[in-house]
């Protein structure tokens, strides 16, 4: 199991998922601005080179975040050990520090790190989504007025992306969580990022909200690395929970174009790493 977890981490940081590659290729085909197209080409070239050499495609190998589905018992010590070993074997950049002293732990673990989320329901699996700081520093959560509705939610999200500008390495991927409580909306926004690009919500109102946000964000004109152009966002997914009659928590997690993630699933008795 430990070796499978290390392989999961390695795949996630080395290989850009096919859904992201396809989205970048589509964005490049549609791009008319020269500098924007150059950035998209370099992103694709970089992904190819990283995969060929087996090295992390971005030096920011991020905060290690695991999502466990189904019954896993006390697997946490194993996850931390996998991160420690991956830090040496892949390798990963030691990114984790104490929040106040800023002392680096050196092995990418620490108090509550790796971050582990347990999700009920679904096939038994472990997903790994390293979270880089450039995009995470631009993420936001806020209690909106309960009567806000789709228009104001889309406006809030577009405003977060507008203020982020070139900082989160656009074109970005957006995970949006609405409803629940503030921390639950934030978790939903991360779960939304695990979903494959090119899909939409089965709930018509949420699918419409996803399209609306994508339209508004892409009309901002920030473009790849902030150089203008058509593509500021590669995809939006929204997940929702019911909430208190007097509140509407909304969270948006920004993800850079290097939207790295991989999942470990059981296939005919052995563990296999898959990507969307």
């Amino acid at each position: 199991m430990l070796d499978s977890l290390i392989e999961l981490i390695r795949t996630a940081v080395v290989r850009l998922p096919p859904d992201v590659t396809a989205a970048l290729e589509a964005a490049l085909a549609a791009e008319e601005e020269e500098l924007a197209a150059l950035q998209l080409r370099l992103m694709l070239e970089n992904a190819a080179r990283a995969e060929e050499l087996g090295v992390p495609l971005c030096q920011d190998t991020g905060v290690p975040v695991f999502f466990l589905r189904g019954e896993w018992g006390e697997v946490e010590p194993l996850l931390a050990e996998a991160v420690r070993r991956a830090t040496v074997q892949v390798p990963l950049r030691p990114c984790i520090v104490h929040p106040l002293s800023r002392e680096n732990t050196g092995d990418n673990t620490g108090a509550h790190v790796p971050v582990v989320h347990r999700i009920t329901g679904g096939e038994r699996s472990v997903s790994f989504m390293p979270k880089g700081a450039g995009s995470e520093n631009c993420s936001a959560a806020a209690p909106l007025p309960p009567s806000a509705g789709a228009g104001e939610i889309a406006e809030f999200v577009a405003d977060v992306v507008r203020r982020a500008g070139a900082k989160p390495c656009p074109p970005v991927v957006l995970g949006v969580g609405i409803g629940g409580t503030l921390e639950h909306a934030a978790l939903l926004s991360k779960l939304a990022l695990l979903l494959p690009l090119g899909t939409e919500s089965e709930e018509p109102a949420l699918a419409e909200l996803e399209r609306r946000i994508l339209r508004e964000v892409n009309s901002l004109g920030i473009g790849p690395m902030g150089f203008g152009g058509r593509c500021t966002c590669l995809g939006v997914r929204v997940l929702s929970a019911h909430c208190h009659t007097a509140s509407l928590p909304v969270a948006v997690s920004l993800q850079c174009w290097a939207h790295r993630r991989a999942t470990l699933v059981e296939r005919s008795g052995s563990w296999e790493v898959v990507q969307p």
Binding site: L35, L38, Q39, L42, M43, E45, N46, R49, A50, L53, V55, P56, L57, C58, Q59, D60, T61, P91, L92, R93, P94, C95, V97, R102, E103, N104, G106, G132, A133, G134, N137, D159, R162, G165, A166, K167, C169, S219, L220, G221, I222, G223, M225, G226, F227, G228, G229, C256, W257, A258
Partner: protein, 179 residues
Amino acid sequence: MRHLSLPAERASLSSLRAGDVVKVSGRLVTARDRAHRRALELSTAPVELKSVYHCGPLVRRAGDGWEVLSAGPTTSARMEAYLEGLLERFGTTVIIGKGGFSEAALDVLRRYGCVYLSFTGGAGALAAAAVKKVLEVHWLELGIPEALWVLEVRDFGPLVVAMDARGGSVYARPASGQE
């Protein structure tokens, strides 16, 4: 595509215009938040800082030295608070990063004759291919990402002249909102 040698003299940079695409070769020093802060607090650094790269590289021990595996740029906005101090004290003429500075920084860059070059964020494997050698490393006690890595690079790029030394910038103005 124009090639620049680092360190670069101000005079050789004055003809660069926002939107130009260049490659650079020579000596680059990585510096992030903590190295900037320490250098300005001490008002000195163990290496010259004429060419600064906003980067925290992913490295691996190789014999007595180091190998750079992935070394894309980090978000430059975090270092904007130290920009004027850096240019004034250390005479930096070239900064490489990603995401740019605010519009207010254009005047600072102009006054000190410094250009800001952008490399594609996340393109760590491509950037590492241009790193030929780790010449020195200082302040490792700040942690690997925050240390001063002195790198010899060859044909690093293509880099976009994102903010030039004449007040020009390629950063898109958001289509709506107050900015």
